[in-house]
């Protein structure tokens, strides 16, 4: 019994680190740009398809895909920011939500038309195949790799934003972009880069996820709702908040799947409702 619970907790931790990895990009974009990036799910899905196309058409393997797919999708994100999203700064966040949600529907529809719904398989890289028997469960090496990488990446991002000069600019830009611009910092450029970076983060997360899930046009839509809940619970825009909440919610979900599987889809949203009632700004957020 205890053994099974350990297994579920570990699975929860693995999913939680995905949530953390993915919600980080959203949190950064919202925190700095005040844009609710509903296109995150579509960008995530695009990252998977770039990796899959690279492998099937050009023979580009997993390791290069970890680098190239975020770069490619990040560039698309930058173009998007320059053409469309920058027109929304200073407006009600609802406009951003509508624009990015519309874009999501278009992008998903296009991929659906071209690749169908069942999707394509993306193999686990040779180096990370197999697994270890932990006694209470069999842990696939690839899943362990996911946990380690996402924790490193999350902690690294937090360090950059909280402890470096670049991070200080970013935080200042969030607080008062005009003042920062008066100090000679190219704020619009910084915003563009931030958006591209946030989007690239989604593509990175999906290359990590592709060998586990099927590469399908709806893979982002399946995840984006949960990830939004993570960001809301953690506090919109809070980097540390989204990391802790991501991992925490993964664990809660894991336990629910064990105790009462039927509720596993709902539990995150129940928590979200409770948090919004008691702390409307989220666990780690502050009132704006």
């Amino acid at each position: 019994m205890i053994q099974a619970l350990f297994g579920q907790l570990l699975v929860g931790l693995i999913n939680g680190s995905f949530y953390a990895l993915l919600s980080l990009g959203l949190a950064i974009i919202f925190g700095l740009l005040n844009v609710v990036n509903f296109a995150h799910g579509a960008q995530y899905m695009m990252g998977a398809f770039v990796a899959w196309m690279g492998l099937s058409y050009l023979g580009v393997g997993y390791w290069w895909a970890l680098l190239l797919s975020p770069a490619a999708v990040g560039l698309v994100g930058i173009a998007l920011e320059r053409v469309l999203i920058r027109r929304l700064y200073g407006l009600d966040p609802l406009y951003g939500l509508l624009l990015t949600f519309g874009l999501t529907l278009i992008v998903e529809g296009l991929f659906h038309h071209a690749y169908g719904n069942s999707g394509n398989a993306y193999p686990v890289p040779a180096l990370l195949q197999g697994g270890v028997n932990l006694g209470f469960m069999y842990l696939p090496i690839y899943r362990a790799w996911v946990v380690v990488v996402s924790l490193v990446v999350c902690f690294g991002s937090w360090l950059v934003i909280e402890k470096t000069r670049l991070g200080a600019y970013l935080r200042a830009g969030t607080e008062n972009p005009r003042l920062l611009q008066a100090f000679g910092v190219n704020v619009p450029f910084m915003f563009t880069v931030t958006y591209g970076f946030g989007v690239a983060r989604a593509a990175f997360a999906v290359v990590m996820a592709a060998p586990i899930y099927q590469v399908t046009p709806t893979m982002g839509a399946n995840l984006i709702m949960v990830v939004f809940a993570v960001v809301v619970i953690g506090g919109m825009g809070s980097i540390a908040g989204s990391i802790f909440t991501g991992v925490g919610l993964g664990l809660v979900e894991g336990i629910t799947k064990y105790l009462y599987p039927e509720a596993s889809n709902v539990v995150i949203f129940v928590i979200m409702a409770l948090v919004l009632l008691l702390r409307p700004a989220g666990l780690f957020g502050r009132e704006r």
């Binding site: 929860g12 719904n117 069942s118 697994g131 469960m137 586990i212 099927q214 894991g254 064990y258």
Partner: protein
């Protein structure tokens, strides 16, 4: 002048009478078949646009006209939602003059549309849904369940797996009518064959992508066989993740509803060795190959059993209209049940008084990458299950309409 006028009047009257007679034969001067399916969601690859294409092929092959009137195919996306399905069906029947609805993949949508069709005396040609009760407790006089049902899947795969030594089972079940009914049908089969069911994990569907929790529970149960009472992308992810967590090949998977589109996207390396039951395999004989290659040219994918079933059902329906000399539902249903089906899908099979089309099913095993010689060469046919063994008998189905007689 008056003579000309009189003659013209006569001619017009005759024409009008002729038109009226024809209108009686074919209501509204057109035979309209609606394909109501999942166009974009979870089941869109195994039914969806492929089902619509199959229906169109049937109409083309029939010649585009029946009893001198045009045959029209329309389609809509029910998004796997019962309320959308019933709204579309009502609109189709009331405003669009649709005579029959085909496919209806996903049992919840079929269950919503069938009573409406029966009330309006229109025909449902189920190819996609699986619930056995559609020709049992909830049967209607205007329904044909054409391609497969849970009973056939459970018996085909369940019996065979238990007989080859898989005595203890654990289910990973999609938590809605289809999954639950498939689980309960298979449970009965496993018990009857001398096996034991240790438990089940039910997951919310659609919406689940990570199955590791449920698979770990199945693993912890120690069952020899994990029965996948789910479909589409749920099944794909289950199979993939079971391999990842080292569950297979120690415990074996029994795919209770697996389509060739699933195998195609999983790849043979992951799916090899798995047993499944299907009513159609494109590479079974010359006739099935010939039709499937035509389908492939249009869709760039081989047909699933649902899509092949839509073609065959629509064709049988059109032939029944021709034979009955009308598109009125009652005589057409009678003709469909009286005439045997004879095409690439099924040979000399019959639709029972309960509306269930009883035909052979095939137990197949997925080939390994080495065994597969050409594209879509995926299955070995292990066993042909004859129609009377593949489907429940009229007595077992207990459809009130059929029992009364």
């Amino acid at each position: 002048m008056t003579r000309i006028l009189r003659n013209t009047t006569w001619a017009l009257a005759l024409l009008a009478a002729g038109a009226a007679a024809a209108a009686e034969k074919v209501s509204d001067g057109v035979v309209k078949i609606g394909v109501l399916t999942d166009m974009t969601g979870y089941y869109s690859d195994l039914a969806g646009p492929g089902s619509v294409e199959a229906a169109k092929m049937a109409v083309e092959d029939f010649g585009g006209k029946v009893l001198g009137k045009k045959i029209e195919i329309i389609s809509a996306d029910h998004q796997n939602k019962a309320d959308i399905a019933s709204n579309v069906a009502r609109k189709w029947f009331d405003e669009e003059k649709v005579d029959a609805i085909a496919d209806l993949v996903s049992s919840s949508t079929a269950g919503a549309v069938m009573p409406i069709a029966a009330e309006k005396k229109r025909i449902t040609l189920l190819s996609g849904p699986a619930t056995t009760g559609f020709t049992g407790g909830s049967c209607t006089a205007y329904n044909v369940h054409y391609t497969y049902n849970n009973w056939a899947l459970a018996h085909g795969t369940g019996t065979e797996v238990v007989n080859s030594g898989g005595k203890t089972w654990y289910f990973v079940t999609a938590d809605y009518i289809f999954g639950k009914s498939l689980e309960s049908d298979t449970t009965d089969v496993v018990k009857a064959a001398g096996g034991k069911v240790l438990g089940s994990a039910r997951f919310p569907s659609p919406g689940t992508t990570d199955f590791s929790s449920y698979l770990l529970q199945a693993q912890a149960s120690g069952a020899q066989v994990i029965g996948l009472a789910n479909a589409g992308s749920d099944t794909i992810n289950c199979i993939k993740q079971a391999k990842e967590f080292g569950i297979t090949p120690k415990q074996s998977l029994a795919g209770l509803l697996v389509f060739i589109s699933d195998i195609h996207s999983l790849g043979l390396a992951t799916a090899k060795g798995m047993y499944l039951t299907t009513s159609f395999y494109w590479d079974r004989d010359d006739a099935s190959r010939k039709w499937s290659k035509r389908f492939f040219d249009r869709r760039k994918a081989m047909p699933t059993m649902i899509q092949a079933g839509v073609y065959s059902a629509v064709m049988h329906y059109l032939q029944a209209i021709k034979a009955a000399g009308t598109d009125a539902a009652d005589p057409v249903m009678k003709k469909m049940k009286d005439t045997p089906v004879n095409d690439f899908f099924a040979q000399n099979t019959r639709i029972g008084p309960d509306g269930l089309h009883r035909h052979p099913m095939y137990l197949v095993q997925v080939k390994s990458p080495e065994e597969s010689k050409y594209p879509w060469d995926y299955y070995k046919i292990v066993k042909t299950i004859p129609a009377d063994k593949a489907f429940p008998s009229v007595e077992e189905q207990k459809c009130p309409l059929a029992v009364k007689k």
